[in-house]
């Protein structure tokens, strides 16, 4: 294991000051399910590891606040998957949180960590994109609420500025009824990352939001406002053309060991059609 110094601040301001002082030589530790692997294999070699779990503002919490459901940065996947409000209003996020890793991983891994790690295969990312989530970041210049679609850059890279710490993920309360579902393809349940991870949401105004990951450098969101995808009676050819537009940003790596580009692109279309059908059903069921 790479050696480092460890800090355990109890106040957010202390953590921000530590991050500012150490810059890129510091890494934040939440659940550790990504970071500790990287500390061990040497792909992360920080001088300082800052554990955020004892900071009051980062304690696990899911709360309703100013028209949003706010998930605190310390909240783990197990608690998100089991939360009644998440299951009722953001079921696709609950479904995604429930398939991250194994029980042991979900007991440690946080939603904020999944987002900050910025893996293209992050299972929660498509649902957060569909629900229009925002990343709440506190830094030297104050608090920012960053739309999640502008947060991801590429694997491991986000638009967080130096010294900024993610304190929560917030999702606006949907202003219209929405049916949504998360689906994925993986080689083995309980361990492997997704070969394709996808979320589709259809709302009462006929807008379809479809987001997918593990098929390019970052998760992608596409929106169909024409009402064609949401209309079960629309001709297949019309739907196919829209799907092709939404999937145009998929560019899976030929170097991945998990699945070939051809397989991923084929599964993207299969999962997209299935998820759309389920989302329409769920909207109809209320």
């Amino acid at each position: 294991m790479h050696t480092f110094a460890y800090a355990r601040p109890t106040r957010l301001a202390e953590a921000v000051a530590l991050l500012e002082a150490h810059g890129s030589d510091a890494r934040l530790l939440a659940g550790g399910t990504d970071l500790i692997i990287r500390l061990r294999d040497g792909t992360a070699q920080p001088g300082v590891v800052i554990d955020i779990k004892r900071i009051a503002e980062m304690r696990p919490s899911i709360r309703e606040e100013a028209g949003c459901l706010v998930i605190g940065a310390g909240t783990v996947m197990t608690d998100i998957a089991a939360d009644d409000r998440v299951r009722r209003s953001y079921p696709a996020l609950a479904e995604a949180a429930a398939v991250v890793g194994s029980v042991q991983i979900r007991n440690r891994a946080t939603l904020a960590g999944n987002v900050c790690n910025a893996s293209p295969a992050a299972d929660t990312a498509p649902a957060l994109l569909v629900y229009g989530a925002r990343v709440v970041a506190v830094g030297p210049a104050g608090t920012r609420h960053i739309p999640i679609d502008t947060f991801f850059v590429r694997s491991g890279v986000t638009t967080l500025a130096r010294g900024e710490i993610v304190t929560a993920i917030e999702m606006p309360v949907p202003d219209r009824a929405m049916g949504a579902v998360h689906v994925r393809r993986t080689r083995r349940r309980g361990h492997d990352l997704a070969s394709v991870t996808l979320c589709c949401g259809v709302d009462a105004a006929g807008v379809t939001r479809l987001a997918y990951g593990s098929v390019g450098p970052r998760p992608v969101l596409g929106v169909d406002e024409s009402g064609v995808l949401a209309d079960p009676a629309a001709p297949d050819a019309a739907k196919g053309a829209i799907f092709e537009r939404l999937f145009a940003d998929a560019s899976p790596s030929p170097r991945s060991m998990r699945a070939s580009p051809d397989y991923r692109l084929a599964m993207l279309r299969v999962l997209g059609a299935r998820a759309l059908s389920t989302a329409i059903d769920r909207l109809a069921q209320g």
Partner: protein, 161 residues
């Protein structure tokens, strides 16, 4: 206490016993359990959180102890496989593993037992799919999944007989 440090004094309760240890901050909970506290039930294997051989219970939830720094466990309650038996008698779950032939080489069994132990604490009558999902984070290279599932089912029967 927010100055970065390389060693850290921690206190934790392991199998009901309070322990105070000074740990190097880059040592994992698995390292400290095995090397400092002499509890070798949790096994070191994949070290990436895939195999579950290092599973322990931390504040009532299973974790891969290879992915938890010992210093993060400061103030927590840990149960390892050594804590399942009572007065040297195997727990009903442990006995069920033996009775069904779920234990072949035995390497994965401490982790399997702890995952099953917490599953049954949270859900005393799990279905077969719930057992499979609850233990999906524990690999068995002897391929005893069928027998392990039978053992968990047998333990639920035994506990409620």
């Amino acid at each position: 206490m927010s100055e970065p440090a390389r060693v850290f004094p921690i206190e934790l309760t392991v199998n009901g016993h309070r322990r105070a240890v000074e740990v190097a901050v880059h040592h994992t909970l698995l390292d400290v359990l095995r090397d400092d506290l002499g509890l070798t039930g949790a096994k070191e294997c994949c070290l990436v959180g895939e195999c579950g051989a290092c599973t322990v219970v931390l504040d009532g939830r299973t974790v891969d102890s290879c992915l938890v720094l010992a210093v993060e466990a400061d103030g927590t309650e840990i149960t390892t496989v050594e804590g399942l038996a009572v007065d040297r008698d195997l727990s009903p779950l442990q006995q069920a593993f033996l009775d069904t032939g779920a234990v072949q080489c035995g390497f994965c069994i401490p982790g399997q037992l702890l995952s099953a132990h917490v599953l049954l604490a949270d859900n005393p009558h799990p279905s077969v799919p719930e057992i499979q999902e609850g233990l999906a984070g524990n690999l068995c290279r002897c391929g005893c999944y069928q027998q392990i599932t039978e053992a968990v089912l047998a333990a639920t029967d035994r506990a409620h007989r």
